[in-house]
Amino acid sequence: MIRSTTIKANHNTIKVLERMALDKKEHRNKIIAKIKEKAKDNN
């Protein structure tokens, strides 16, 4: 089942979303670096 809602984004909400996006990007970069390192080790 898919449900959805629209939230009025105040300044704090936008800050939270920006922080989540930044954390996601940092985590992604770490994972990608590890995968590239493994690929290098295997070559």
């Binding site: 089942m1 898919i2 449900r3 959805s4 809602t5 629209t6 939230i7 009025k8 984004a9 704090n12 909400t13 936008i14 800050k15 939270v16 979303l17 922080r19 989540m20 996006a21 954390d23 996601k24 985590h27 992604r28 770490k30 994972i31 990608i32 590890k34 995968i35 590239k36 493994k38 690929a39």
Partner: protein
């Protein structure tokens, strides 16, 4: 489907696989759990190609990513998945639609995908949870509260 590798990262498991066209895809889960029920078993989901290349017309990519997500969810029905659609390249709506399409074909009838849109921000967040365990009204309330908790925890 492609054969994939699983690794345990510091914050959660991640998976990766290589395609026939030498692209490398990852699927990563990051522990974002709060202390109390119902958000005490939350993992964020992220996936993509490591060099941001596109694997067009290769249906094995989406089936592999979907299989990894389902396999992870099947390990624990109390998992709650958090998926933030990127707004960096203004394609967050496409990602949201793609994720909804995957969800609708994956046969997880007892799971709920709850999408949060924001009236003046280019972000979309989805939460996946099992309705056998979690009550939607409680999840709605707690998810809204946790946005605030998340910010306070980061500032603490």
């Amino acid at each position: 489907m492609y054969k994939y590798n699983k690794e345990q990262g510091a914050d959660g498991p991640y998976f990766y696989f290589y395609t026939e066209l030498n692209l490398t895809y990852y699927v990563a889960f990051r522990n974002m759990s709060q202390e109390t029920f119902p958000l005490n078993n939350v993992y964020s989901l992220d996936f993509g190609e490591i060099n941001e290349k596109k694997g067009r017309k290769d249906t094995k990519i989406s089936s592999t990513i979907l299989n990894i997500i389902i396999e992870f969810l099947e390990t624990d029905q109390s998992l709650v998945i958090h998926f933030l659609c990127d707004s960096t390249d203004s394609r967050q709506l496409n990602r949201k639609r793609l994720f909804s399409r995957w969800f609708s074909i994956c046969g997880m009838e007892q799971w709920v995908k709850y999408d949060y849109d924001f009236d003046s921000a280019d972000y979309n967040i989805s939460f996946l949870y099992c309705s056998d365990i979690y009550d939607t009204a409680l999840m709605e309330t707690e998810i809204l509260l946790t946005l605030d908790v998340y910010e306070r925890a980061k500032n603490g």
